[in-house]
Amino acid sequence: MSDARVFPHRHLLGIDHLDAADIVQILDLANTFFELGARPIKKVPTLRGRTVINLFFENSTRTRTSFEIAAKRMSADAVNISSSGSSAAKGETLLDTAKNLEAMRPDVVVLRHMFGGAPHLLAKHLDCAIINAGDGQHEHPTQALLDAATIRRAKGRVEGLEVAIVGDLAHSRVVRSNIQCLARLGAKIRLCAPWTLVPRGLDEIGGEITRRATRIVTRLDEALEGADVVMMLRVQNERMSGEQPRFPNTREFSRTYGLSARTLAWAKPDAIVMHPGPVNRGVELAPDVADGPRSVVLDQVEWGVAVRMAVLYLLGRVPAGEAEAA
């Protein structure tokens, strides 16, 4: 795997600091690692001797396992720490925890956290590469990258595609990363939700480029009409505690914004269906669509490993302390 281009970042905190060339570099590299997954022996020695800590302050099975497998396939030593088994419950601050881990000399810390900006706090204080595995409702960059990789494989390209992103836009870090990733790769994006779930300025999060690429609509038929890709978001009930209700009930939400065989018919006949998981079955996505022939939900999971291997490869090779700041 030749990569003459030097990846110009020390950390992966979000898509917002990546340009199109950075994204394509990761996706191209992920292609190589994807093929590796099909071989009987899936391991490469690239990161032998490197230590990756998966520091997860939110429940996650898929993303944590994906990072762990990615690290192990690169021959890195991966350690998982989840909040239930950590000092967070004892009142230690995030920074305390992170500084203690740093003293054990990891090369990469993968952080999942319930608050936006937590990876940025670590990046400021720690001397190792930080990968954001989801921070509050801010970003989830590896999800957007694996989504782009999945779309690229299914459709052969991203540029020029019409992508509908539907559902809980307000609480979604996935949508924030995807808007920026897809816009930089040249896709057109329709964002669809009731106004209660449309945060102000969502179309402008990447500045002019996302503003031009993005359209906000509130009718599902308008969002799906002519769409090549339909990306359904998870309704994040867990993030709505302490907030006023955003819709009356899941039945009405599902009837108005859910993807079913009936509503999927509005999209192009060859449109693919995506979901970052875990699916609220029967709420945003009907089971027959989730498991149907147009669903690429499991392809997303498979690409997740390849994309995370690519990211670890780009950020984990440089010995901690010797890299230039991103």
Binding site: H113, G116, H120
Partner: protein, 429 residues
Amino acid sequence: MDLVLSGGRVIDTSGELFDRAADVRIVDGRIAEIGTGLVGSRTLDVRGLVVSAGLVDLHVHLREPGQEYKEDLQTGTRAAVAGGFTTVCCMPNTSPVNDDRSITELIVRRAAEVGACRVRPIGAVTRGLEGKQLADIADMQQGGAVAISDDGKPVWNAGLLRRALEYARTFGIPLVQHAEEPELVEGGAMNEGAVATRIGLRGQPSITETSMVARDLELVEWTGARYHVAHVSAARTVALVRDAKRRGLPVTCEVTPHHLTLTDLACQHYDPATKVMPPLRTDADLTALYEALADGTIDAIATDHAPHSLVEKEVEFECAAPGMLGLETAVPLVFALVRRGLITMTRAIQLLTIGPARAFALDAGRLVAGGVADVCVLDPERHWTVEATGLASRSKNTPFLGAAMQGRAVLTFVGGKVAYDLDHRLESP
């Protein structure tokens, strides 16, 4: 002491505007004369500097009693005089809360013992700031409280606020509202808008503030009580206050230097030092605040000096305690507005002296012959950099650390005594 401050730009906005080069003679704690060619036993050349009444801050958190690891009456008042302030009004959200006379008197007594400037306590509106029962308002007033507020929290219950206003009116004490409709906050840690959406932090909209002010003004009209809006931040808030003043309601308001300087863009790198309540708003809000400063809608610039230790601030933005330091950076931030032509120098002085003094009916903010010699000397040209080690406050939570400033208090007198002397010009001759 018999000292002549010679040749400074002397500004007094308490009566007919006084703004010209003059001498100010301080004798035995009072201003003996203001004029030209004055002679005293000692003369200090202050040409090029502004000589004003000591500044008055209606809104500080001095953290004593109970949170002395953040600030206390000594460090907080040292920060005050280093910023040119000679009178500060301290909010009641201490531990215990200043909701009865014994706490009020404790603060007054401790401030007299260790304070570098005058401290005028603000009592709580409700017991424990809980918004349920009225605090001992008349009693606290007797003990020295100059206003009442549940600052940090609003008095949100309309029925309780109505009675609090009526009761406060009985004793002629102003009620200071921290306007923040709780049901609109929804965990918002910064202004709700494009920046919050982009950086993925929960926001609270400006209607959180404006809707409560709009409601309150109806209660003010009904009760006729003196009502003061703390730290206005939103364009619509000052429009509402302007309209209320036109209708003759007994309403005043204050704004902080940081709400006049920074927007929500300052939060984009998740620096917890930029987390304040109300949150930093937008350019459109700042423009409206500037107009309201110039046209008299805003009565006072108050710092909302809110010291916090690293324990509260070196954490995730959404977990951080809101508030920033203000006393030592107020003068340069306000002078920056003067340099930008948004307000005049005399208006700036008014907003820092007689404006706030009148809002709380304080005997302060005047630079007149025969008056008490609470005086500050300000250097509008002084360039300096905000450094943690140079701050008198015990806490260092300001987003201006490392920032280049222009304008600084260089000399502060409280009751004719030197309380602050940046360049050591008055050390024993």
